[in-house]
Structure formats: structure tokens, C-alpha cells
């Protein structure tokens, strides 16, 4: 009766959210008096999981599963649940994990709580605090089914090291043709860039930047901080930046440790999309901008003066703290 964790990987390496989910699962396992089994897809070195409380890893090595296929992955996870007699499956709340979550819930007839923002309030009954109303509220939700699924919000729990003696086991579930009825034909992803979903820090800019030609300094600031870049809705609507960078209620949610908003006034839909971020900084010429009410730190000033100065000072800071 273990807990099963789905660990996301890219190019054969675990993503940060895989280790965060493992950390979360370890905490729940302690409460339940059980152990954590992880499932990894095409990762040769699984040792990192042993640092975050995983006791056993089921290693799937399968050419067909090199890239993410929601239905095939969900079938494999469901098979692993059966094999391990797992009563709880834990995933992240990334785009791929949310794709899996609904499918798994239907396959396993398991109640599913996505966007969990903290460890369960209780494990018997299983009650979990989750984001609701686009971060304007939280629901404490009970799962009523025997098998349960929790999706942990990015950066909500953090990485907590717990060294365990990790056992590894090869796992080769049969995949069927029908699992691949929806085929991936092309992935268009900018290599090497930090994505909004994975980023600890997000640097975001709005109409105050006046035009797409002025984004160089935003990218430079993001580069210095190792951050992802994002933008407000009007900016993506005007085509200054891609839709993938649009942050807000109908865009991407951001749950970073630090969110820096430059030249963004702070419409309610935008604030809903960033409210899960831990620390918010706003830079805006208008002291009445609504974002100042939601931010932790602020500078009333012209982005074209403040941002270059901030980049210089950050470079000095990094040099001193290297």
C-alpha cells in the first residue's frame, strides 16, 4: 500500500517538480506510515530520487515513451498503481501532469485534487488544501474514493531532502497501439530557455515598455537572474510577445518564488494569475497602479531608467556573491 509518484523528466533528467513531488510524497508517507515508490520514464540515473525520500523506483525504459504521450503514460501509471497496490498517486501541476490527472482519475475511478498548495490537512480522511477561484480563495477538499490522486502546485511545497536507500526495479508494462492514437508530430520549444512553469524567478513586462523593440533589457534582466520572461495580456494581444508568455487568468499561472512586474498596472485578471508567487516586485511610473497594492516591494519610477540600473547593480551583486 505505497504511494506512487510520477516524476517528470526532460532529456533523461528529472525536472525540479519531480523532486518537489517526491518531497511532498515523503511527507504524506510519514503521516500514513507507508513508503514512496516513484515511476520514472527513460531516466538512467535515478539516484536523485533517493535524496528526496523515495524508497523504490520503477524504471521504465521504452523508446516509444521517449516523448510524452498522455494516454500511453496514463496507462503505464495505472498499471504501476495496480502492480504496487498504491492507494495514492501524486503528480505535479505542470501542463503535462494536468493532462494526465484527468485521464488517470477516469481510468482509476479515483478522486483527484489538482493545485494542492500544502501538505494534506489530514490523511484519514484525506483532506487537501487547493487553489480555487484563480487564487482568490482556497478549498479544503476531501477525496472520497479508495484510490486517490493529488496534483501538487509548483513551488508550493519546496524541495526537502530526506536521504533513503533507493531500490531500483525495471518496469516494462505492455503498451498498446490505441495508447498512441493521438500522435505527437512536432514539438516547438525554445531550447535552453527557462520556462514560466519551471522558473524560480519570472520577469514580466507590460504596455509600459512602449514596444517590442524595448524587450532587450527585460531579457537581459531575466538572463542575469536566471529567470523566465513573461508579459501582460495586452502585450501578447498586440503581438509584441508570444501568447505563451501571457500571464493571467486566461493565460499562464505563475507560482514562482519571485515575480517582477515592470510597466504592468495590475488588472484583476493579471493579479489572479500571479498571486501564487511568493514575493512580488512592481516597477511602475504610476504610484496609483493597482499592482502596488498586491506587491511586496515597489519602485515608483521609469522602467527605462530603473531596469538598466537594476541590471548593473545585480551584476555587481552576483560578482560579489559568486
Amino acid at each position: 500500500m505505497s504511494i506512487l509518484v510520477y516524476t517528470e523528466a526532460e532529456n533523461g533528467k528529472f525536472k525540479k517538480n519531480a523532486l518537489e513531488v517526491a518531497s511532498y510524497a515523503h511527507k504524506v508517507a510519514q503521516e500514513m506510515g507507508t513508503e514512496v515508490t516513484a515511476l520514472s520514464f527513460n531516466v538512467s540515473d535515478n539516484s536523485a530520487l533517493g535524496n528526496y525520500g523515495v524508497s523504490k523506483v520503477l524504471k521504465v525504459e521504452n523508446e516509444q515513451l521517449k516523448t510524452f504521450h498522455a494516454k500511453a503514460y496514463a496507462s503505464v501509471i495505472a498499471e504501476a498503481v495496480k502492480k504496487e497496490g498504491a492507494k495514492l498517486v501524486i503528480l505535479s501541476s505542470s501542463t503535462d501532469s494536468k493532462y494526465l490527472g484527468g485521464l488517470l482519475s477516469g481510468m482509476l475511478k479515483a478522486g483527484y485534487i489538482p493545485n494542492a498548495v500544502s501538505a494534506p490537512d489530514s490523511v484519514e480522511p484525506m483532506v487537501v488544501k487547493r487553489m480555487a477561484f484563480s487564487n482568490k480563495g482556497f478549498a479544503h477538499t476531501e477525496i472520497n474514493t479508495e484510490t486517490k490522486i493529488i496534483g501538487v502546485s509548483n513551488n508550493a511545497f519546496g524541495l526537502i531532502e530526506n536521504a533513503t536507500d533507493l531500490q531500483e526495479e525495471a518496469f516494462s508494462p505492455a503498451t498498446e497501439e490505441k495508447d498512441f492514437a493521438t500522435k505527437s508530430v512536432n514539438v516547438d520549444k525554445v531550447a535552453g530557455e527557462v520556462t514560466i512553469a519551471d522558473a524560480d524567478i519570472v520577469v514580466s513586462a507590460g504596455r509600459g515598455l512602449k514596444g517590442p523593440e524595448n524587450w532587450g533589457m527585460i531579457e537581459e534582466l531575466a538572463d542575469v537572474l536566471g529567470a523566465a520572461t513573461a508579459c501582460s495580456k495586452p502585450v501578447s494581444d498586440m503581438g509584441w510577445r508570444s501568447h505563451g508568455e501571457h500571464v493571467g487568468q486566461t493565460g499562464k499561472p505563475v507560482a514562482s518564488n519571485l515575480y517582477i512586474a515592470i510597466g504592468i498596472s495590475g488588472a484583476i485578471q493579471h493579479l489572479a494569475g500571479v498571486s501564487a508567487s511568493k514575493v512580488k516586485v512592481v516597477i511602475n511610473t504610476d504610484p496609483e497602479a493597482p499592482f502596488f497594492k498586491a506587491a511586496d516591494y515597489g519602485i515608483v519610477g521609469d522602467a527605462f531608467e530603473v531596469v538598466p540600473e537594476l541590471i548593473e547593480k545585480l551584476k555587481e551583486f552576483k560578482a560579489q556573491n559568486a
Partner: protein, 248 residues
């Protein structure tokens, strides 16, 4: 082609969120309800298919009579017929089972749901339906073309997009990108008049599992006032982020 658009009746994006009855119920006082934005992108894409390729479009909602104004709006935009499953949409699993019954009986080629609703943000309904009915599924769908049985879909992934090929029948979890916001339709007077004559079929719910239940709600803690740093002293901001907030 026969299309079903599943719509959720949600508080509009600017609503103030409050809870009543000892924080066990969402307070609907003074709240304006609308079509869930992610579903509206899907509904507009369905209208596109109807007009360019020929399709019948039905809309379905799980909810009491109070959701009918939202359904009428969808009919005024151009959906042909409405289906209301007469039950409180208490949890995603329950809603998905009710919609799966409608889909099974209606023999739809394409089912469009939203990536998530902006109230409970579960985002699980299309996936559960896909699993129950064993049909193809694309989530976070930002582009959809259909030729005969062949489907080409684009989905958003973290840091980019992915092109997928599939076949009908298909269910998607749609979002902005399926159509642009500027393409969303405001019902005109003719549409509103016609919508009055269109049928909303009320179905009683099928027996179904309530997989989760919301016990209580709360709101984020009140935040302290913003700490302002002088524009001439940005070094102080770095100090604060390093020493006080400990985020750099």
C-alpha cells in the same frame, strides 16, 4: 459533424470572492455569472466549424435552472440546442460522468471543453470523459483543424507548443488560441431573439460517483503594505530581496 460544447457557469473574472455558512459555501450575492472564458474560446471555434465546414452545435451544462441565462447566451452566439443536466455540479468527477452520458447517447464527433473553469480550476472534466468513453483527447488545445475524420491539433506545453495528429471522435480541453479574444462574439439582437425559440432539454442526472467534496473555503491572508524603494537607490531593492525576502 456533430459538436458538443461543454460550458461551465462561472463568476465573471472581476467578481469579489466571499464565502458564507461558516465558510462552507461560495457567496453568490451580487455575482454576475458568465460562460467560463476557456469554454467561450471553444464555443467560438465550434461556430467557426459550423459556418465554414457545416456542423450541428449543442451546448451542455450541469446545473440548476439558474444556469439557463448563461446557456441562452451560448444559444444567442449560435449554438443550435442546449442540454441542461439538472444537478448541482459539486465535483469534477460527477460532472464528467453526467456529460459522458450525454456524449454517449448523442454520438458526437467532437466534444469541446475548457482547459479549466475559473472557479474551481480543476481542469479534470475533459480528461475524465476521455477515459470513461475511451476517446482521443487533447488538452490545453490552442489550435484545431479537422478534415473528414483527420484531426490536426496544437497544444500548449511548458515553454512552447506541440502539434498532434488524431482522429474523430475527439475531446479537447480548449483555451485562448483556439480563437483569438478579438474573435469572441457578442450576441446580437437577432441572435438573442432566435435563442428564445431554441430548445434547452432538461435531463435528470444519472447515478454517479461524488469522488471529492469541498469541506471549507478560505481566502489568502491579508497582505501588508508594499515596501517602496527610492528609484535612485535600486541597490536597496537587491538588499531587500537578498536579506529580507531571501529570493535571490
Amino acid at each position: 459533424m456533430k459538436i458538443l460544447v461543454c460550458i461551465s457557469n462561472v463568476p465573471d473574472t472581476t467578481s469579489k470572492i466571499n464565502f458564507t455558512q461558516d465558510n462552507t459555501k461560495f457567496d453568490t450575492t451580487g455575482v454576475q455569472f458568465v460562460i467560463n472564458p476557456n469554454d467561450e474560446f471553444g464555443l467560438t471555434r465550434a461556430m467557426w466549424f459550423k459556418e465554414k465546414q457545416g456542423a450541428t452545435v449543442h451546448v451542455a451544462t450541469v446545473g440548476g435552472p439558474q444556469v439557463e441565462p448563461t446557456m441562452r447566451k451560448a444559444l444567442a452566439i449560435g449554438a443550435d440546442e442546449g442540454i441542461r443536466i439538472n444537478a448541482e455540479p459539486t465535483d469534477g468527477f460527477f460532472v464528467a460522468q453526467q456529460l459522458a452520458e450525454v456524449i454517449k447517447n448523442g454520438e458526437y464527433d467532437l466534444v469541446i471543453g475548457g482547459r479549466e473553469s475559473i472557479d474551481y480550476n480543476g481542469g479534470m472534466v475533459p480528461g475524465i470523459i476521455a477515459a470513461i468513453l475511451n476517446i482521443n483527447f487533447v488538452n490545453t488545445c490552442i489550435g484545431l483543424e479537422i478534415e473528414g475524420e483527420k484531426v490536426t491539433a496544437m497544444r500548449e506545453i511548458d515553454g512552447g507548443k506541440e502539434k498532434l495528429e488524431s482522429t474523430l471522435p475527439l475531446i479537447i480541453g480548449g483555451q485562448k488560441g483556439l480563437v483569438e479574444e478579438s474573435d469572441l462574439r457578442i450576441p446580437n439582437m437577432r441572435g438573442i431573439m432566435m435563442a428564445r425559440k431554441k430548445q434547452i432539454n432538461v435531463l435528470e442526472p444519472a447515478e454517479a460517483l461524488h469522488a471529492t467534496s469541498d469541506k471549507t473555503f478560505d481566502k489568502p491572508a491579508q497582505k501588508g503594505p508594499v515596501k517602496l524603494v527610492d528609484a535612485d537607490n535600486v541597490g536597496e531593492l537587491i538588499e531587500l530581496l537578498h536579506n529580507e525576502a531571501k529570493v535571490i
